[in-house]
Amino acid sequence: MTEAPVLDVSTLPPGAFGSRALTFWGTLGIVVIESTVFALGIVAYFYLLARFPHWPPHGVAAPDLQWGTLNTLVLLVSLLPNELTRRAAEHVDLGRVRIWMVVCLAFAVAFNVVRVFEFAHLNVMWDHDAYGSIVWLLLGLHTTHIVTDFLDSSVLALLMFTGPLEEHRFVDVEENSVYWYFVVLAWLPIYGVIYWAPRLL
């Protein structure tokens, strides 16, 4: 069969930012998967809850509010440097990318540290009963996200200082920020479940 060229794409740019990029959709796929895990974890929590007249069962105290609430605030505030990183990346502004990534990392250290206190103030161990198990599972799942995101953001930030650097790396920085939004927003329902479900239900 003969071929008839009908389209010349040699002038198209070698990549794009945001939802035009391939990696954006890959990230979205990961977000869907992990949201489903979180949602099912929450469903399991309420499934177990529905079987008891009092929750937490067996006279266990609800988790202390202060550390979880503090971390919620820290996470929400971290969205600001995160958004500034994202914008700097879209403008291919290396100086600002470096500054805001370092600020983001400082926040990441902060809420990873506060997370340790959260675990210490859950007032239940994972092997006490199923309530303890599900609370540790929910908090543990989210902790996996903040730990891994801290690690991969560190690597990316390091790369932005050492190179080798090309324009595509800024798309990576932007995707990293998009994922960060997910990690913070996913925390809000989990915070509500862990800290408020035992108080309100």
Binding site: L12, L22, S133, P164, E167
Partner: protein, 545 residues
């Protein structure tokens, strides 16, 4: 089929492949070492809990799940992205081949279904390893929670197996009828609605657990309703065959076999959806007969058809027609000989999951018949494997498009060159190869010395930008090895997860770390002006010639 030069995230797909392979080796290796799972494919607690399974067998099962999860989720993400962003210019959503639709719908089901079993198996291994109590009734847990999580995955899984098969059927029916699919929109909507409804059926695997009446009624209704979209598809296939010029070749034979067997399995499925009948034949051979008619009829027959259909594209040679007729005949007769008697056995009360029964039950003759049928199927498969090997070297050479099909994979040579198309095609209709029989419109301007792909817009597949795919790399393989070490280590001690995470992290950095400043094909730092467009900017001029 979407006219792309490659699949999105090729390294992720490589990683996924290695994970699936290592998971499979791990499973069969554990069987050889007599340490394989022995708690059923559904691994119900309390049987699978430490108290009743103190060995590592249930942990092997749980981590095997994790292997396959990681592998299938990675591929699902890749397939969805490929279909959304790498379609040939002009392939709008309503021109996507039905097989591709089927794959995308399946991939979305994977995204939503697999996390359930992942959460379940993780909870199980935590129960067994660090003493949590998710499924332990004595400590406020609930064994039924396992069943809910498992079947929330388990029932959609049936459709994850079945929907790609319907895509194969649509493709082959269209090709051998030599006419466009009747009711394209109805078929695509059927696929999508099947996927949605597939998530509303899981409790019908639990009718015998004493759930509330209202719940049972709801899930009965849902189980019957899901027959509607499948029925719609079957009628569309019949209409396509009816109005087309039918050429009977081996792939079509398997599809016709699929029709017969799958419709029979579907009918017993509607019977099983009714709670009274379900309770009566629960755990009998009637159920065994039903799901073999549905799964072998619904997935294995189309898979054989697909193998015969795409074999020439993969190898450049055709399989033998004469041998194919024998294989099909032996398999079809053998299948019915094996599984039809099981309906009767089940109605006579023969339970599932037993390997023997008293002679006085009078089930001997029908079981003998079933064994004979199984032997016949085995012969068919043996002949098939022999033919597949022989034809790969001595088969008749295939042309680019031996079946005169309409989709883009037939526009390239058989077997295709590395990166599928030297110059990728464009599309102006739903059946591109039937619309431009002499001249294939193509895209010019992509590099031929590198993995340069064209990224298009999600809805209308207008060209957007070019992207340089990464070269082959050893790192996905190394990452798969370190992940495998972590998974197997975690069977024995929870510290395996902690220490094992270090090599995983290091291999992932090795994977990510750029080897040069030109790797992505964009300008290296420092540069003055931005060349990559932002989301809301107009696309650069890449125009018609």
């Amino acid at each position: 089929m979407v006219g792309a030069r490659g699949i999105a995230f090729p390294r992720l797909v490589a990683f996924s492949y290695w994970m699936l392979l290592f998971g499979g080796v791990f499973l069969y290796g554990s069987l050889l070492l007599n340490a394989g799972p022995d708690v059923g494919w559904f691994s119900y607690p309390p049987l699978s809990e430490s108290l009743y399974t103190p060995s590592k067998r249930a942990d092997v099962w749980a981590q095997l799940i994790t292997f396959t999860e990681v592998a299938s989720l990675a591929v699902a993400v890749s397939l969805i992205t490929t279909t959304l962003k790498l379609r040939a210019p002009g392939m709008t959503l309503n021109r996507i081949p039905i097989f591709v639709w089927a794959q995308v719908v399946t991939s979305f089901m994977v995204l939503f279904a697999m996390p359930a079993v992942m959460l379940a198996s993780t909870s199980l291994i935590l129960d067994r390893l660090v003493g949590t109590h998710f499924f332990d009734v004595e400590h406020a847990g609930d064994a039924l929670l396992w069943q809910h999580l498992f079947w929330f995955f388990g029932h959609p899984e049936v459709y994850i197996i079945f929907i790609p098969a319907t895509g194969i059927v649509s493709t082959i029916v269209g090709t051998f009828s030599q006419r466009p699919m009747f009711g394209y929109l109805a078929v695509v909507l059927s696929l999508v609605s099947t996927a949605f409804m597939g998530f509303g059926l899981w409790v019908h695997h639990m009718f015998a657990t004493g759930l509330p009446q209202l719940g049972e009624s709801f899930f009965t209704a849902a189980s019957i309703i899901i027959a509607i979209p499948t029925g719609t598809q079957i009628f569309c296939w019949i209409a396509t065959i009816w109005a087309g010029r039918l050429t009977i070749r081996i792939p079509l034979l398997w599809i016709l076999g699929f029709f017969t067997i799958f419709v029979a399995g579907g009918l017993t499925g509607v019977m099983l959806a009714a709670v009274p009948l379900n309770t009566q034949v629960h755990d009998t051979f009637f159920v065994v007969a039903h799901f073999h008619y549905v799964l072998i009829g619904g997935a294995v027959f189309p898979l054989f058809a697909a193998f015969y259909y795409w074999y020439p594209k993969i190898t450049g040679r055709l399989l033998s027609e004469r041998m194919g007729t024998w294989v099909f005949g032996a398999f079809f007769i053998g299948f019915n000989l094996t599984f039809f008697p099981m309906h009767l056995l089940g109605l006579h009360g023969m339970p599932r999951r037993i390997y023997t029964y008293p002679e006085s039950m009078g089930w001997g003759t029908l079981n003998l018949l079933a064994s004979a049928g199984a032997a016949l199927m085995a012969i068919a498969v043996l002949l098939f494997v022999m033919d597949a090997i022989r034809s790969s070297v001595a088969g008749i050479a295939a042309t680019d498009n031996p079946w005169h099909a309409s989709t883009l994979e037939w526009a390239t040579s058989s077997p295709p060159p590395n990166s599928n198309f030297h110059r990728p095609p464009t599309v102006a209709g739903r059946e591109p190869l039937w619309e431009h029989p002499t001249e294939q419109p193509i895209v010019a301007g992509l590099r031929t010395d590198a993995r340069d792909v064209l990224v298009t817009h999600v809805l209308d597949a207008e060209p957007d930008h070019r992207l340089l795919f990464p070269d082959p790399s050893i790192w996905p393989f190394l990452t798969a090895i370190s992940t495998t070490v972590l998974f197997i280590w975690s069977i024995f001690t929870p510290w395996g997860v902690v220490y094992g995470a270090v090599p995983v992290f290091m291999t992932m950095i090795g994977w990510f770390w750029p080897k040069s400043a030109h790797q992505g094909g964009t300008q290296p730092w420092p540069f003055a002006d931005r060349s990559l467009p932002r989301p809301n900017e107009a696309p650069a001029a890449g125009g018609a010639i």
